[in-house]
């Protein structure tokens, strides 16, 4: 009997495909109409931190260097008020096997897939994660299929995305290159069903547990280098896994650093628009993922998302494309480190944040990513110009997404701006209310929702009145 492969039919089979492709029954964690037992779901993975460190060190993941950026810190101090200009450190996650922190996220999934006897792994991703899954799969003798949104309807692919696809192929993966649209998930399900491979979704407990080691390492390295804890750890934020995993690792290590999200502000551009697709110079780390995933994590490709960023987020900074390109260039010229621009999103936020903090305080930028042809700010700017985007020096505040990229004239113009956290929390509650009317929420549901936005029940009760 042949399967019905229409969009509607495949989406309707989502739950059964998920169960077969991961071996996780999400239904058992349900505790209310809205609530589920998040910690139990995470614990049921059955891995201690030591287990994960062992898994990761066997496939060239983790234990990446931490560097203090003395010259950048000095430059920031020159433009800051007296006494201001925190020390900036960066964790060089580009040193992982696949060139980004995503190797941590793929490592546990690959281990589980191998243990459970799956023949291969599948992931739908914009890129770095695909390379990570491909790299981990290669090391564990698993086949790998990466499904990637690459081209607009004219067949034009953004250089960064093209490079990320190349890297997946370099590790032996089959790369399915898609035109623009959310149906990526449809084809993902279809391929999981056809092959019986393991679903290496970004949002499983395995993926997030894999990032917890990053938080542990940050705490340990900063303590060893400075004798104290970092004051803030700033995280490039998209789907929320980087922030969630890092924050959980910091907490497990007893580190109380503020966890600050940072995304490139791409407001005004529609992420599923064919026209807008090649008018943006960032393919991840931007608000197009960062805001929707923070305000409703369960929109992910698994029934319950293990990446729940608002649970752990203390602050959220937004930066412009031009600001990130400027700081990426400065990283090369001042610090002698050439790294990919998307990973430098949080570095850009750190420059702005450092000006607000005292000189004895410490900010950790918790990732870098590899760079190369296509995955480079010069490639991105050159391509943007070809797409009709105006590129110039000036005040980045004047830039208009999809029309212009304005590279700061000086470091003083790298300011970023704040995302309103309470607005995000209210947006989360509105999304939760769409799932189930708050009048029907039990005490368990309320406690879950409050924890999911890092607030207490009292705050939640008041917030629900104004919904």
């Amino acid at each position: 009997m042949s399967r019905d492969i229409s969009y509607q039919a495949v989406m309707a089979r989502k739950n059964e495909i998920m169960k077969a492709s991961m071996g996780i029954d999400y239904d058992v964690y349900k505790t209310g109409k809205l609530a589920f037992d998040y910690e139990r779901m995470m614990d049921d993975c059955g891995f201690t931190t030591e287990d994960i460190v062992k898994i990761q060190s066997s496939t060239k993941v983790g234990n990446t260097p931490m560097f203090e950026l003395h010259n950048l810190t000095e430059a920031v101090r020159k433009i800051s008020a007296p006494g201001k200009g925190a020390r900036i450190f960066v964790k060089d996650e580009a040193a992982n096997a696949s060139g980004s922190f995503k190797a941590r996220r793929a490592s546990v999934s690959a281990y589980v897939a191998q243990q459970k006897g799956y023949k291969g792994m599948i992931a739908a991703t914009s890129g770095n994660y695909g390379a990570a899954v491909a790299s981990q799969a290669a090391q564990r003798g698993l086949k790998c299929i990466i499904i990637q949104e690459v081209y607009d309807s004219k067949g034009i692919g953004q250089p960064e995305i093209v490079e990320k696809g190349r890297k997946c192929e370099a590790f032996g993966a089959e790369v399915i290159k898609m035109s623009v649209g959310p149906e990526l998930f449809y084809y993902n399900l279809l391929t999981l069903e056809e092959t019986g491979y393991f679903n290496a979704s970004l949002y499983t407990p395995f993926g997030i547990k894999g990032v917890e080691t990053l938080g542990h390492e940050v705490a340990q390295q900063i303590r060893a280098m400075t004798g104290k804890d970092p004051d803030a750890v700033i995280v490039t934020h998209a789907g929320g896994g980087n922030l969630t995993g890092t924050a959980r690792g910091l907490l497990q290590a007893g580190c109380k650093a503020q966890v600050v999200a940072c995304s490139v502000d791409l407001s005004g551009l529609h992420m599923a628009s064919d026209n807008d697709f090649n008018r943006k110079s960032f393919t991840t780390g931007h608000t197009g993922f960062g805001v929707p995933f923070a305000t409703w994590p369960d929109r992910a490709d698994v029934p319950r998302n293990a990446a729940r960023s608002l649970r752990y987020m203390d602050d959220y900074m937004l930066v412009s494309q031009g600001e990130v390109f400027y700081v990426t260039e400065l990283l090369s010229k001042l610090e002698g480190m050439e790294r990919g621009p998307a990973g430098n999103t949080s570095l850009t936020g750190a420059v702005a944040l450092a000006r607000e903090l005292n000189q004895d305080q410490i900010i950790v930028v918790q990732e870098t990513e590899y760079t190369g042809a296509g995955k480079h700010h010069n490639s991105q700017l050159s391509f943007a110009r070809k797409m009709g985007i105006e590129v110039r020096r000036g005040d980045p505040k004047d830039s208009v997404n999809g029309k212009s990229i304005i590279i700061p004239e000086n470091l003083g113009q790298v300011m970023g701006h704040r995302q309103d956290m309470d607005k995000l929390r209210m947006s989360y509650l509105k999304n939760a209310a769409k799932q189930c009317d708050p009048s029907e929420w039990s005490q368990v549901d309320k406690e879950f929702a409050a924890a999911d936005v890092k607030k207490d029940i009292k705050w939640l009760e008041n917030a629900l009145k104004t919904l």
Binding site: I79, V150, S153, Y187, E194, Y326, A373, G374, N378, I407
Partner: protein, 95 residues
């Protein structure tokens, strides 16, 4: 027409969803375009460009589609010179 030998590394294109079959939440501009996939693989039998063919992919799957590119390769680069970047952060310059 030149025959492309079986076993050649090629890229095919396949329409997964026509404009009518696309997901309901797709914005209007995207909905006007079919949902396409491209994949590279080894050509199963001798064919010509734009033929409907079958390829064996790197994972060993057999996929049918239109033969679009023979020996697909990557040409992405560091791009044209972006002069706006050149003087950022030079030694001795004001930052």
């Amino acid at each position: 027409m030149n025959t492309i030998k079986s076993g050649t590394w090629v890229e095919i294109e396949k329409t997964l969803l026509t404009t009518e079959q696309r997901a309901p939440q797709v914005p209007d501009d995207t909905k006007k375009t079919p949902y396409l996939m491209r994949v590279a693989g080894f050509l199963v039998s001798d064919s010509q460009l734009n033929d409907e063919v079958e390829v064996k992919t790197l994972s060993g799957r057999l996929i049918k589609g239109t033969l679009k590119v023979v020996k697909p390769h990557y040409e992405h680069s560091f791009g044209d010179t972006v002069e706006e970047l050149l003087d950022i952060g030079l030694v001795g310059s004001k930052i």
